[in-house]
Symmetry: C2
Subunit: 214 residues, 2 copies
């Protein structure tokens, strides 16, 4: 049992790395097994198909990322401050990926959404759930800022979705230009998307001065 679960976990680790670097379509089961040091014959003992493996990789990635998001968005800091920390953590993660692989790998969920969502229904549905959960997490902190009168919004849901869309769009640029610093622009864009207004309650938010005035 020890060796068995070890092989499964080695396949998962190898697939997560290869999928992040190369996407789904260009990847073969044989290559994954070679990278994992597992005989190809045993692959189907652990996974029904390459798609089933991809779903397991997506779940592992999301479990790790959701833990990060919940930890960062769940602190005692002010809500917009927590949002900013989330964006900074995203940039740091892309920078770490660039350090490890020599290239900004982007967001696995965004990558697979564009590569696969119209080709594999199970993957599409899983990715939809993940993005809804991301929007949920952002919406919670946006709603908190809204109750505090720090943001001006018609709909906290739409605003949260536009924040996640902005993040995905700028992660696309970070990958395209192989430059995580692209993500430095996301914070000011998010403030604009949230209609952040300084001075409403007689005090200024710490990071708003850049966008408050012309």
């Amino acid at each position: 049992m020890g060796r068995t679960s070890d092989a499964r976990s080695r396949i998962l680790v190898a697939a997560r790395s290869l999928l992040g670097q190369r996407g789904y379509s260009g990847l073969g089961v044989a290559e994954i097994c070679r990278a994992a040091g597992v005989p190809k014959g045993s692959f189907y003992y652990f996974f029904e198909s390459k798609e089933a493996l991809a779903l397991a990789v997506i779940d592992a990635e999301w479990t790790a990322e959701r833990d990060d998001w919940e930890r960062i968005l769940g602190t005692d800091a002010e809500p917009l401050q927590r949002l900013r920390q989330l964006l900074e953590a995203t940039e740091a993660r892309q920078r770490a990926g660039q350090g490890s692989y020599g290239a900004v790998l982007g967001c696995m969920f965004g990558n697979l959404s564009l590569e696969m969502s119209n080709q594999a229904d199970a993957i599409r549905l899983r990715l939809q759930e993940i993005f809804e959960a991301e929007v949920d997490l952002v919406e919670a902190v946006v709603s908190e800022a809204h109750r505090r009168g720090e943001v001006t919004l018609v709909s906290t849901r739409d605003a949260a979705r536009s924040v996640v869309a902005q993040l995905e769009g700028q992660v696309l640029f970070a990958k395209l230009y192989n430059n995580p610093s692209q993500l430095g622009a996301v914070w000011l864009s998010c403030l604009a998307l949230l209609g952040v207004h300084a001075g409403r309650h007689g005090d200024r938010l710490p990071h708003v001065q850049d966008v408050a005035d012309e």
Copy 2:
């Protein structure tokens, strides 16, 4: 010569359609030739490699899209109105693609950026040029609105880039949810990103009322 150039053009048309639907990695030269009705042996007479074909497809797609963008952004309408028309045209194009293929295909440049940009330098550079050109086109109209006092910005370049990022992020959602209506949200997000303020010169922009107030 007539038949020769016809075969090249059939390969291009088939590749453009297949690349849009399935991405790059999952696509083989044999399949493209079959769809084009061209013998596989003649493929390399026209294209040095699959990558060279992809670059030709990207160029064809960009030529068509740039023509659209320049036409829409070059009318006599007010600058923000032109920007809105660009976003509406994007939604209409995604809707038409869904009608033809049964699935929202997204933006070919965004799709290939996430699938390929860290795997093929020539493709990465071409896509960078295209996105810079898109940001140029958006920046021109944003600058015009800025001179008219209709937008509040620190940097027209950063704002234009954030608009294109927002569009790419929402096109990702449109593809993921197979729902072009996702793009209906882009206009209000762009107004927010541009810091559009109504009433600055005593009049209201026609579409700003939704975001001007809480």
